[in-house]
């Protein structure tokens, strides 16, 4: 299974600013003093040695993740603004040839559905879209965001065959060669985590999920849901201090809780996700480094690999 991230930012999309680009250039050029950059190859090699926060960018699209299973049907997790470039990717691969898309929704907040009106396959006759969720009002939410005066193209004008599949948490479903189950999470209006198992690898997608660290039964239930996952994509939007003080009940979690739950669950990889929109690349990179250090400090069994999601990241399992 391959996991490709198209949108990793929490709450609202953000974009790179001119000041941020300038700061990256200044850092890169300052570090180049004395370095021989007389050939194109030397320039490329120098850029490749720079840290990600300088030479790259975590990106700014809101939540959208693609699972590639090797099968003919497509799997998408959430329809944040990252769904727009994902649509371009699919069109580039398949053109107008009819395809089946399975979309699994964590919940229906705006940042998780806003990309759908820009998901071009929904406009193409012959395509089939099945939108799986545990929210009975999913169809209402998708139709409403395209109704006047919010969007110029009404949902009824979409030409793909679009179905809404309301699922129940705690049950196993067979979808496109995967065993899929959902778990209810603590978030305004409820959210649901998803566990995907193709028989070779397990991916858990758990975003917009607050954890009450004092609730030991809840902790054990999540450890069970994450059990021995190859990859846990985890809402690490806030610091632990913020998540249990000024941002308590805001529906998000922290890197610390992500590490603890994954260690308890004996998961293999933790991917920090749903980045705080106020954070710049340096801050997200710092959180990644600190999380890796925390994992080292608390490790008792096998190492837990720590990643931080960025728009474009691919993880092969």
């Amino acid at each position: 299974m391959k996991v490709r991230f198209w949108g990793t930012r929490g709450s609202i999309p953000v974009s790179m600013t001119a000041q941020a680009v300038r700061a990256k250039l200044i850092t890169a050029l300052s570090g180049a003093a004395g370095v021989d950059l007389s050939s194109h190859e030397q320039v490329v090699a120098y850029v490749d040695r720079l840290d990600f926060a300088t030479a790259g960018c975590f990106g700014g699209h809101s939540s959208c993740v693609q699972l590639e299973t090797g099968g003919s049907e497509h799997i998408i997790l959430d329809m944040g603004s990252g769904a727009r470039p994902l649509a371009g990717h699919y069109l580039g691969q398949h053109g107008g040839k009819p395809q089946t898309y399975h979309v699994f929704m964590s919940h229906l907040h705006w940042d998780h559905i806003m990309g759908f009106p820009f998901f071009t396959p929904a406009y193409i006759p012959g395509n089939q879209l099945i939108i799986h969720s545990c929210h009975s009002e999913a169809e209402f939410a998708f139709r409403r965001q395209q109704a006047e005066p919010s969007f110029p193209v009404d949902f009824s004008l979409l030409r793909a065959d679009i179905r809404f599949d309301v699922m129940e948490p705690g049950r196993d479903y067979a979808v496109a060669g995967l065993t899929v189950s959902a778990k209810k999470q603590r978030h305004g209006g409820d959210s649901y985590g998803w566990r995907f198992d193709d028989g070779k690898a397990v991916v858990v997608y758990t975003t917009d999920s607050e954890h009450d660290v004092g609730d030991l039964a809840e902790r054990a239930a999540f450890a069970d849901f994450f059990h021995q996952a190859d990859l846990v994509i985890f809402d690490a939007m806030y610091s632990l201090a913020a998540a249990i003080s000024v941002k308590e009940d805001w529906g998000h979690s922290s890197n610390i809780v992500g590490v603890e739950l994954c260690q308890l669950a004996q998961a293999k990889r933790l991917c920090l996700f749903h980045h705080e929109p106020a954070y710049d690349d340096l801050q997200i990179a710092q959180i990644l480094n600190e999380t890796r250090r925390f994992e080292e400090l608390t490790r008792e069994g096998a190492p837990l690999e720590i990643l931080s999601a960025w728009d474009g990241l691919e993880v092969v399992l």
Binding site: V213, G214, A241, A242, S254, N255, I256, E260, E290, T298
Partner: protein
Amino acid sequence: MQLRAQLINGIQLLSTQGRIDQAGAEPFSAALSPYLADCQAGQPAIVLDFAGVEYISSIGLRALMLAHKQATAQQGRIAIAALTPLVAEVFVISHFDQVLKVYPTVADAIEDLR
């Protein structure tokens, strides 16, 4: 878990040790509770001496946050001192160093809060 209590220069110094994790957080909170009840305006500030604390997990940090909230609501004062290097790192990574009052030594805490 027991807290060793001393009243020094008008400061309620409480020393603890061991791990404040899933097993240790509840006993720590229970031991702290009677002192927290007295942590009010005009009463001695509490300084938690963490020199003997080997580790603190998220549930232990939550216990500290609840203590901080209760003391603040009562117009009392509570601070933590003498973190071991490992616990100090956990405070930085979790940003608890930005929320709670943390002093390098017990003497520094007493000097500032008395």
